[in-house]
Amino acid sequence: MPERTPSQTIGPYLHIVLTPADYKFREVFSAAVADPGIPGTHIRIEGRILDGEGNIAPDAMVEIWQADHQGRYAHPADGRPLASNSFRGFGRCATGKDGGFAFATIKPGAVPGPDGTTQAPHINVGIFSRGLLKRLFTRIYFAGEAANASDPILALVPPDRRETLIAKPDPAKPGLYRFDIRLQGAGETVFFDA
């Protein structure tokens, strides 16, 4: 049987093809996961990526993968019909010079979990950057969601670290959630192995 090809860092020059607007190459992906016509509660998620010294990471890339407002994935392993065929559930955003990223999307619904459980609404997140030799994987959950208390994945996280996975609504801006990612050190975001 063939053996796995190892991961290598994405490096600092990922924008040439992965987010190529500045390089006159056609874009396939964007940070707009849900166009205005997609059913569901439309939200924005904004955050920054910080390293172990508290410095922002202006050369990283964030990818998100999520279910629609009914908790269904646009993928054959799910197979349940989606309310909109134009919803693909995937977004990509390079961090800016301020280390920030932003996605326009919809709040996902609850998703089936292992052994008959239900997972609270969440968004799957991949983080790539110079200095990361392989992807980091985390999840965004939503503050104030009652289902968080019974989520089977959050239950695996030590209680004092769960807050790092919870996006907080911005009281001044309806529909905006904030989710910072700390790669290392105080308040380090929980990263998963699946």
């Binding site: 049987m1 063939p2 053996e3 796995r4 090809t5 190892p6 991961s7 290598q8 860092t9 994405i10 600092p12 020059y13 990922l14 924008h15 040439i16 093809v17 992965l18 500045d22 390089y23 056609r26 396939v28 390293d51 172990g52 010294e53 410095n55 993968w65 279910a67 994935y73 646009a74 993928h75 054959p76 392993a77 693909r88 995937f90 089936p112 979990g113 292992p114 997972q119 799957n124 991949g126 790539f128 950057s129 110079r130 200095g131 990361l132 030799l133 392989k134 992807r135 980091l136 089977p152 994945i153 695996l156 790669l183 290392q184 380090e188 975001t189 990263f191 998963f192 192995d193 699946a194």
Partner: protein
């Protein structure tokens, strides 16, 4: 709950912290990863296929008015899973510096010439047999400031999706016999010598196009499905 995707091959990957690669020191997490089951969220993933790419995007030598400088090459191979099955209809994105070792990227200020006929970006989707194929020029080596007299071996960056969120892979393809391997902390962050060899393509005369371009072959192996009833077919 049984895994849909094997975790055994994870050992091939480099650690997050590889101190000789200086940037890892402040970006590698210090807390251990938390292992979670592979739920519907992990065994699904973005679906992009033939309709998302244009055939000409697989040729990096024809994107401008003239031809880029350098040694024209063909890079081809198959995307497979760990059970040896082809991974069809999966997106492959590549980026690289030009033949002089300079990226078009604004951050790259290495004093080597830019090539007005070379962007260094390509994408394609694998066919039913998992095969991909790019035409490009051989990238140059270039200096970086990781350590004294540090040079990256020639490489092409590859980004692949595979059939699920957990099969996502970003890696680099290297060229055989590069004398810069021994001093490169990124290449050597993969601690197993056999695993490092799996990042190196091979010259192939059969893939070489007479009077036109040298051919290099590189197969890419993604996480494979376990043989369970819940296995995801690469539909």
């Amino acid at each position: 709950m049984q895994d849909t995707y094997s975790r055994a091959g994870d050992a091939a990957d480099p650690p997050y912290l590889a101190p000789d690669y200086l940037s890892t020191r402040t970006r590698a997490p210090k807390q251990p990863l938390i292992a979670i089951p592979q739920t519907l969220s992990e065994i699904t993933g973005p679906v992009y296929g033939q309709s998302d790419v244009k055939p000409e995007e697989a040729d990096l030598t024809t994107q401008h008015a003239g031809e880029p400088q350098g040694e024209r090459i063909i890079v081809t191979g198959r995307v497979l899973d760990e059970r040896g099955r082809p991974v069809p209809d999966t997106l492959v994105e590549i980026w690289q510096c030009n033949a002089a070792g300079r990226y078009i990227h604004e951050v790259d200020q290495h004093p080597a010439p830019l090539d007005p006929n070379f962007t260094g970006a390509g994408r394609t989707v694998t066919d039913e047999a998992g095969t991909y194929r790019f035409t490009t020029v051989k990238p140059g080596a270039y200096p970086w400031r990781n350590h004294a007299n540090a040079w990256r071996p020639a490489h092409i960056h590859f980004s692949l999706f595979g059939p699920s969120f957990v099969t996502r892979l970003v890696t680099q393809m290297y060229f055989p016999g590069d004398p810069l391997f021994s001093q490169d902390p990124i290449f050597n962050a993969v601690t197993d010598a056999r695993a490092r060899e799996r990042m190196v393509c091979r010259f192939d005369l059969a893939a070489t196009k007479p009077e036109w371009a040298l051919g290099y072959v590189w197969d890419i192996v993604l996480r494979g499905g376990n043989a369970t009833p819940g296995d995801v077919d690469h539909a």
